[in-house]
């Protein structure tokens, strides 16, 4: 495959809890479904991991009405966490992932603390290597983001999840906050092994047409993603890295090789790719190949060395 130099391990320095990735490039939640769907498009084994669609305790139908709105250099979505629920995931989807040896993060979301606790317990029971806790979905009415915007609530929630789960615990943060440092610190102190950031920004897209003397309005309010949010993501990752010692998986508008270097410059330890998958379903493998070639060409023997060089120069 030629990507051996990209192998990297994320380590919680306090506990030595770790997650080894074939490459630091991970498919972001919501853009890869339950993973196996992408098989027709790319060789999934070229990916560091894939974060599953956000899974809740019970299945959710998602939102009715328009769910997608394209904006300049980005898009707004209001899918509303449509998913099959944890039990269907464990019974129908998980066996395929195991059989095909696809590395994944189980992305979980809940509306109450108990939801998250139960999900964490099930993940533990099924020996799932890593979970990504979604406390940052702007598209559901109850819970989720409520935990993600309050440092005390996030600390308590992380602590409870930690108690139920021994694997690699990632907390995914929302940028819709005044103090990302406080949230990152709360997650770290609650026992998170890693932070992933950022989830989507709150946004509203609206189209106004004037037809037959009448204004016709069409709008979608939801989470903004795509390359337009990259500067916000860079700022947030930089802030988080100043606040915590645990590794950070960066995401938000990554679409090209240069973006990887920019996020590494602010301390990213791995990356997630979201919206760019819609433009090019092979973007993750393309980026991995470009990164690997860059390292070969410039004599960086592994990803850590490259990371160190960018951060220290």
């Amino acid at each position: 495959m030629g990507l051996e130099n990209l192998k990297t391990t994320l380590i919680n320095p306090k506990t030595n809890n770790s997650l080894t990735l074939k490459t630091p490039i991970i498919g972001a939640s919501g853009t890869y479904g339950y993973v196996d769907e992408y098989e027709n498009f790319i060789d999934l084994n070229c990916l560091g991991a894939i974060s599953t669609k956000g899974i809740t305790l019970e299945k959710r139908p998602g939102n009715s009405g328009d769910r997608i709105f394209e904006v300049q250099n980005g898009m707004i979505n209001r899918i509303g966490l449509e998913n099959v629920g944890i039990h269907a995931f464990l019974e129908e989807k998980l066996p395929k992932l195991i059989e095909k040896k696809i590395d994944f993060l189980l992305n979980i979301a809940g509306s109450t603390t108990e939801d998250y606790e139960k999900l964490a317990l099930l993940a533990n029971e099924y020996n799932i290597k890593a979970i990504e806790v979604n406390v940052s979905c702007p598209n559901v009415k109850q819970g989720c983001l409520e935990f993600g915007l309050n440092p005390n609530a996030l600390f308590e929630l992380t602590k409870k999840i930690r108690k139920n789960y021994d694997g690699f615990l990632i907390v995914k943060l929302s940028p819709n906050t005044q103090d990302i440092k406080a949230l990152a610190t709360a997650a770290e102190q609650g026992g998170a092994d890693c932070i992933s950031a950022i989830n989507t920004l709150r946004g509203l897209g609206i189209k106004v047409d004037y037809i037959a003397n009448k204004f016709i309005k069409k709008s979608v309010q939801g989470g903004l993603s795509g390359s337009c949010i990259k500067p916000v993501a860079l700022y947030m990752v930089n802030q988080i890295k100043q606040a915590v010692k645990i590794p950070v998986i960066a995401m938000g508008g990554i679409a090209k090789f240069e973006d990887l270097l920019e996020f590494m410059a602010v301390g990213a330890d791995a990356f997630q790719i979201g919206t760019a998958n819609f433009i090019n379903p092979s973007i993750c493998t393309n980026l991995a190949a470009q990164l690997s070639n860059f390292m070969d060409k410039n004599n960086f023997k592994d990803f850590n060395e490259l990371k160190g060089a960018i951060q220290n120069d």
Partner: protein, 245 residues
């Protein structure tokens, strides 16, 4: 160099692009794609836009591997397509979505505006198989007509005399691609007359391969209402299963 594979992503060469009606273009693309069925669509990468643009397949020449799409200028995506010239390269995913189910019955095909695209492909396939069919298409103005139908309705609505036409021709199945409101009326008319309808739906799409769940519509299934994606479960649905909000 790592092996990069996207099994459904193609680079195609434009073999012709021509203006066929007001603001309407026909584009022929040559590529390695060797199979495409009527009802399916392709999703074209527009470098100036975040999302790809879906287009129904209007024809597929299997022998020469040439795909035809029709597009009407709507926004920046189609402006990009219009700017392309013969021999330019485009990137697209194909073939996507499900297909029209061909029934060997008395078929009525209904196109409205650019919705005629998949109907032309369907008509050709039906003719090949000797399935009796009649294509009626509606256009706002004379200069917007895309030719290839048995009958064109200009100015009024393609729905106006549809019921009479169905009875007069003993139609047993309707196929249609049109704006959602027209599809709704066709599906409801078909139900009223107790005949089957297959309709090709349109929605804004993000992934176009069934993972993001952005383009879903409500579908009746065993007394339950569920969401199905237009891009993967569709674009063709039976008219009676769609829930119209």
């Amino acid at each position: 160099m790592a092996k990069i594979m996207n099994k459904k992503d193609y680079k195609g060469k434009i073999t012709s692009i021509k203006n066929v009606a007001l603001n309407t273009y026909e584009m022929k693309i040559s590529s390695d794609l060797d199979n495409a069925m009527c009802g399916q669509f392709i999703s074209i990468l527009c470098p100036n836009k975040t999302l790809r643009r879906p287009f129904s397949i209007a024809d597929f020449d299997k022998e020469n591997k040439i795909l035809t799409v029709l597009f009407k200028l709507r926004g920046e995506g189609t402006q990009y397509l219009k700017s392309l010239k013969e021999n330019d390269t485009i990137q697209f995913m194909a073939p996507l979505g499900n297909t029209f189910k061909l029934e060997n019955k008395n078929c009525l095909l209904v196109g409205a505006g650019i919705g005629i695209a998949p109907m032309l492909f369907l008509k050709k396939e039906m003719n090949k198989k000797g399935i009796k069919n009649y294509l009626i298409s509606g256009f706002k103005e004379e200069n917007e007509i895309i030719y290839g139908s048995d009958e064109n309705v200009v100015g009024g609505s393609v729905l106006d005399n549809l019921e009479d036409l169905i009875k007069q021709k003993n139609i047993e199945v309707i196929y249609s691609c049109a704006p959602t409101i027209v599809l709704q009326k066709i599906a409801q008319l078909a139900q009223k007359l107790s005949i089957k309808s297959y309709i090709a739906m349109e929605r804004v799409m993000a992934c176009s391969i069934g993972v993001c769940r952005g383009c879903v519509i409500k579908i009746k299934k065993n007394n339950e209402i569920i969401y199905k994606s237009v891009c993967q479960d569709g674009p063709v649905f039976e008219g009676c299963e769609v829930v119209w909000d």
